[in-house]
Symmetry: C2
Subunit: 331 residues, 2 copies
């Protein structure tokens, strides 16, 4: 992979701001690589970036048009194709996190063949992976895990990476989902690999490194999520993590998408992740908790963090809101 930056964020005819969640996630963490936005008539999303034509984007130095918008079914509608073909004809690459492959749309594939533009379908691993070997390799690894899905694992990972960079530590954020992949331009969408290769793909993602180098690996799902726990366990084994950070959202009333499933107890979540993580790294331990307090006022948030710290006996932060310092201190 390795998607060239900077980007033009393609928002299409997004019906609302939430549909542009991927684009806004990239912009939040890498504002410097988002030079502009491209919107079609009817688009209800706005990143606050300059609206650019393809020609303007090319002139501004854009390398890749990123389809940073979700829609029902994950398709690339006919109304988007003309613009994407125009981008390829102008010499830009195109990257998409939708289910439909760019390469499966004849006019887009043809334009790429004619003009040499690269197409990145980040949801679809094109590489072949080995099965996991389960052995430790040089370098340190931190993985974010969760009590549930969509709970702040990517944000926490990026906040930890940012803190480590500020301390001049050697660090790479390792992306396992589409937004993360756009942020760093590379990674593996682990929930899209064939089941036999989850841990092998994760091992590939965090190769041997210098002994004092940290891979901060974006977690996915939860060992306690009935739909996706297999992904989480393969990722945990493949990460061979020295350190885990447990991510949690205190106002959630049930597991995401599963109304009859309660969230796990924090201590149970810590224990099971450590137990399973030790299969491939006997030193694996949860070093802290990151609570997503976005739904709480600041005083409530602080009280919540104190309560979680008391319950778990671990450094507890909202890594995005208040910084990841105590988590990095705990390593």
């Amino acid at each position: 992979m390795s998607i060239k930056q900077p980007y033009l964020m393609f928002l299409g005819d997004a019906p609302d701001q939430l549909a542009a969640k991927v684009a806004s996630g990239v912009q939040m963490w890498r504002p410097d690589v988002c030079l502009g936005q491209y919107r079609l008539p009817g688009c209800q999303a706005d990143l606050g970036l300059p609206d650019m034509t393809i020609a303007e984007a090319k002139a501004a130095g854009v390398e890749t048009v990123v389809v940073g918008v979700a829609n029902r079914g994950g398709v690339i509608p006919d109304s988007w194709r003309k613009s994407l073909v125009e981008a390829i004809e102008a010499g830009l690459d195109v990257a998409s996190g939708l289910h439909t492959r760019l390469a499966d749309i004849p006019e887009i594939a043809q334009a790429a063949a004619d003009h040499g533009g690269a197409l990145f379908d980040v949801r679809h691993p094109t590489r072949a992976f080995e099965v996991g070997h389960g052995e430790r390799t040089p370098g340190k690894r931190l993985l974010t895990v969760g009590t549930d899905c969509s709970i702040g694992k990517m944000f926490t990972s990026l906040a930890i990476e940012k803190e480590m960079r500020a301390r001049a530590m050697k660090v790479d954020f390792r992306a396992t989902g589409q937004t993360g992949i756009f942020i760093v331009g590379d990674g593996v969408s682990v929930d899209a690999v064939v089941a036999d290769f989850i841990s092998g793909a994760t091992e590939w993602l965090c190769p041997p490194n210098e002994p004092d180098h940290w891979d901060v690996i974006e977690g996915q799902g939860s060992l306690f999520h009935a739909s996706f726990a297999g992904v989480s366990l393969g990722l945990l084994h493949g990460a061979r993590a020295d350190a885990l950070v447990l991510c949690h959202e205190p106002t959630r009333t049930h597991m995401r998408g599963l109304p009859n499933h309660a969230l796990p107890d924090l201590k149970a979540a810590i224990a099971l992740n450590e137990q399973c993580g030790r299969l491939t790294n006997p030193d694996c331990r949860v070093v802290g908790v990151s609570v997503n307090t976005a739904a709480l006022a600041e005083d409530q948030a602080r009280a919540c963090l104190d309560a979680v710290a008391a319950e778990t006996g671990l450094p507890t932060v909202d890594a995005y809101r208040f910084g990841a310092g105590p988590l990095v201190d705990a390593l």
Copy 2:
């Protein structure tokens, strides 16, 4: 899916008996559906079945040619193609468990299009699955789990199914690997589905049923296998099993393919499988242990079963060698 039986077992130019393991597994459990074998010059495997030409197989009532042979790389060599095309031209279907798809070989695909023959690539799920919902549905479910891979989970499942049928219980064996799929003509190769859909595919495999009907689900991998545990966990959650049977092989010195990984303690394996299984079925429990004693003389085998029973406090059998009665009694 639903592969039509009976079968002609295609052994190609298998270099030894082990290469025909899939074919011999099918023959062992469903001798009545294996009418003959088809061998090319140089074939070193022999199932003891009548050697048949395609025409003889057709005349004998064969419906499907089963490629029941493994080779390095999982390819379908040129030397096999003429015979498979001849089978399709004769009006037979072809089923394969190899990595290479039958449908990707132009002359085979063309023959199937011309003659209406069905091609089954059982390693490649063609169906789209939903993500798992994690809810219990009517009917009883038993899943075999293991301390390791390739340890007798399919054999144990089939022995339990056989015992249940002998007792006139309502039962279906649910296949999750290629040999199992050939045995019953249907199933899902769960290690080949996209990671996000492991538990959803398993739920699809064991649909709602009569309250006293048992699905006996073939397990895969092990929660303690660093390469494949993600598959095992998704399968465990999707099975929503009322009963688990732990499978074990007492002479193994390390996890299969992982020379530095020891096998788990039996009690730890029981505890972790029950803990994780209860996420989708709070009544989930290990009802017994099935030990693969093939490497032991009968007196050693009996002593080993007694020792495992004492250690675990559970009914312990070699379900294949001595029958699955005590496991079914324990339900």
